[in-house]
């Protein structure tokens, strides 16, 4: 009986994924180019938001500097495409590598500190990265002007080549990128390693007594999250044809936290939805209202007070013990 149930559950999950992917696939056919572009941005940012969920939602580590990894990934892609080799794949690899190395460094140095102290250290590191790049005028990175004029090469996919200059094509690539990233992250959080992270979130002090090294588990989570942030930053630069310091800024680090909390942390999919909601919403109201961040701030406050588990919490099954 139990087996039958889980079998039909898997079918249901696969069916659900297929429907969502199908809807996402045909969506651009109904969108103007402007809205397609917005959708691409939202989808790329959804991976960034999901990467933060690995550390914040699963391991329970607050970080205020996540944009540093997104931005470094973006710059890595820009440098690869503009100066080294016109390959999106190599750009992604370089971006993931650079962001992961930065995350490893920040993680190893800061992980002794817990809670808010760790968060402040990540903020400080992110600010250092931001300042260094902001003032790098006489380097190829372009200082506060950003790294502009990043070419958009074809995306090689075995025997095929996808022209990424077409927004519709980029949209589909972004959907595939987000979906694959989601699957990998889902795998990570459902693994024994994922359970250790949940243990750390629930009760960090008990975890070592069960035979786990808390410090390295946290650093590993931080590095994986950094790498995914780097991948999404790289896609962002490939799409926008530039990398600039805004991608590294504290504003973005803050915004991604808002995305995660609004969507519902500890769910992976919640933060992705949060990213889409915030990006789309921001674009709609910013055309009507200059100080749109005030409205976003108000929504954020309302969500935190009235829906502490985020949008996804509205649909979650009620805990039968509560």
């Amino acid at each position: 009986m139990g087996k039958l149930n889980s079998g039909s559950n898997i079918t249901r999950v696969i069916l659900f994924h297929a429907v969502v992917l199908a809807v996402l696939a045909i969506l651009p056919l109904f969108l103007s180019t402007y809205h397609q572009k917005l959708a691409v941005e939202a989808i790329i940012l959804s991976v960034f938001a999901m990467s933060l969920d690995l550390v914040m939602g699963y391991a329970g580590i607050a970080t205020f500097g996540h944009a540093a990894f997104f931005g470094i990934g973006g710059y890595a892609m820009g440098v690869m495409l503009k100066f080294l080799f016109p390959s999106i794949w190599l750009g992604l690899i370089l971006a993931g590598f650079c962001s992961a190395v930065l995350a490893l460094f920040v993680g190893v140095v800061s992980i002794r500190a817990k809670g808010i102290y760790f968060a402040i250290l990540t903020l400080a590191f992110a600010e250092v990265v931001y300042r260094i790049i902001f003032h790098s005028y006489n380097t190829p990175l372009g200082g506060s002007d950003g790294l502009v004029g990043v070419p958009t090469p074809m995306l090689g996919l075995g025997p095929f080549e996808i022209n990424l200059k077409s927004t519709t094509n980029f949209y589909w690539v972004a959907v595939a990128f987000a979906y694959l990233s989601y699957l990998v992250c889902k795998l990570i959080v459902s693994s024994p390693f994922g359970s250790i992270l949940s243990g750390i979130r629930e009760n960090e002090n008990r975890v070592p007594f069960l035979g786990f090294n808390v410090k390295w588990s946290k650093v590993t989570a931080f590095v994986i999250a950094g790498a995914f942030a780097g991948f999404s930053g790289a896609m962002f630069t490939a799409f926008k044809s530039y990398a600039d310091t805004e991608q590294l800024s504290f504003l973005l680090s803050g915004k991604v936290i808002v995305m995660d909390l609004i969507g519902g942390i500890g769910t992976l999919i919640g933060p992705m939805i949060g990213a889409v909601v915030i990006t789309v919403f921001e674009s709609i109201i910013s055309t009507h209202f200059a100080a749109h961040n005030i409205i976003i701030g108000a929504i954020f406050v309302a969500v935190v007070i009235f829906m502490p588990k985020g949008f996804l919490g509205l649909f979650a099954k009620k805990d039968r013990n509560e």
């Binding site: 949940s198 009760n203 070592p208 007594f209």
Partner: protein
């Protein structure tokens, strides 16, 4: 010698929390540590299990020096402990609590496969839940369990590491008399299978399960011996039991 603590000392400021504590332990025996509040019992546990570093002294386990070793390493060596204040994963289910604890003992192969494929830890977790009588509560969120069941879960998580030496810090704290009885039965079941060091205030339990007893007072060992010797010791009577027992 299976387990040995030698002249262990630790001060916090001017307070000598643990002072020159030494004892040895044979494999398969049960040792209880008793003493009034503030005698240094839990601090001694914290020194043995790597929570605090001792100022001086030595701890050896199966012939190897394990002084100040971090808890995760001690767990791999076969030393596990429970806590006086329930220390579980409130937001995870009862089963997840135990499975996570079972998972930690082994080194980290297959760290990124799916948890449902962890055959051994899952089977062991089921066994432990059965032993503790928590199978019916398998999918309940740990934080919503009754106090007694949380205490059982705490014990179960400690056993999940399959330790050869277990340190129980007041396992019956806050339990009802019925639950205490069940815990005594459980510890008697464990006796012989593992070596146990027990901190306990319930004197009936101490005399029911212990092979040897150490009495601590103000950080030092006041008396040590067989249960009947400790019972007869004059200094112990005054310091701990009052004039009469």
């Amino acid at each position: 010698m299976f387990f040995e603590v030698k002249e262990l000392c630790r001060s916090f400021g001017a307070l000598q929390a643990v002072h020159n504590v030494s004892f040895t332990l044979d494999e398969g025996t049960t040792l209880s540590i008793i003493g009034p509040n503030g005698a240094g019992k839990t601090t001694l546990f914290n020194l043995i299990t790597g929570v605090f570093q001792p100022d001086s002294g030595e701890v050896t386990f199966k012939g190897a020096r394990v002084t100040g070793m971090p808890p995760d390493k001690l767990c791999h060596k076969g030393i596990a402990r429970s806590f006086q204040i329930t220390n579980i994963f409130q937001g995870l289910s009862v089963f997840e609590n135990i499975r996570l604890a079972c998972q930690g003992r082994k080194a980290t192969r297959r760290m990124f496969s799916h948890v449902s494929k962890l055959k051994e830890p899952i089977e062991e977790a089921e066994k432990i839940l059965d032993l503790l009588g928590l199978l019916d509560l398998r999918d309940t969120r740990a934080g919503t369990l009754s106090h007694g069941d949380q205490r059982y879960l705490e014990i179960g998580m400690t056993l999940a590491a399959k330790p050869s030496l277990v340190l129980f810090d007041e396992p019956t704290a806050g339990m009802t008399p019925m639950e205490t009885k069940a815990t005594i039965a459980l510890i008697n079941k464990l006796k012989g299978m593992v070596t146990i060091i027990l901190i306990e205030h319930d004197i009936n339990m101490v005399f029911a399960v212990s092979d040897r007893i150490i009495v601590m007072d103000q950080g030092s060992v006041l008396a040590e011996g067989l249960p009947q010797e400790v019972k007869a010791n004059e200094a112990v009577k005054t310091a701990y039991f009052g004039e009469e027992i």
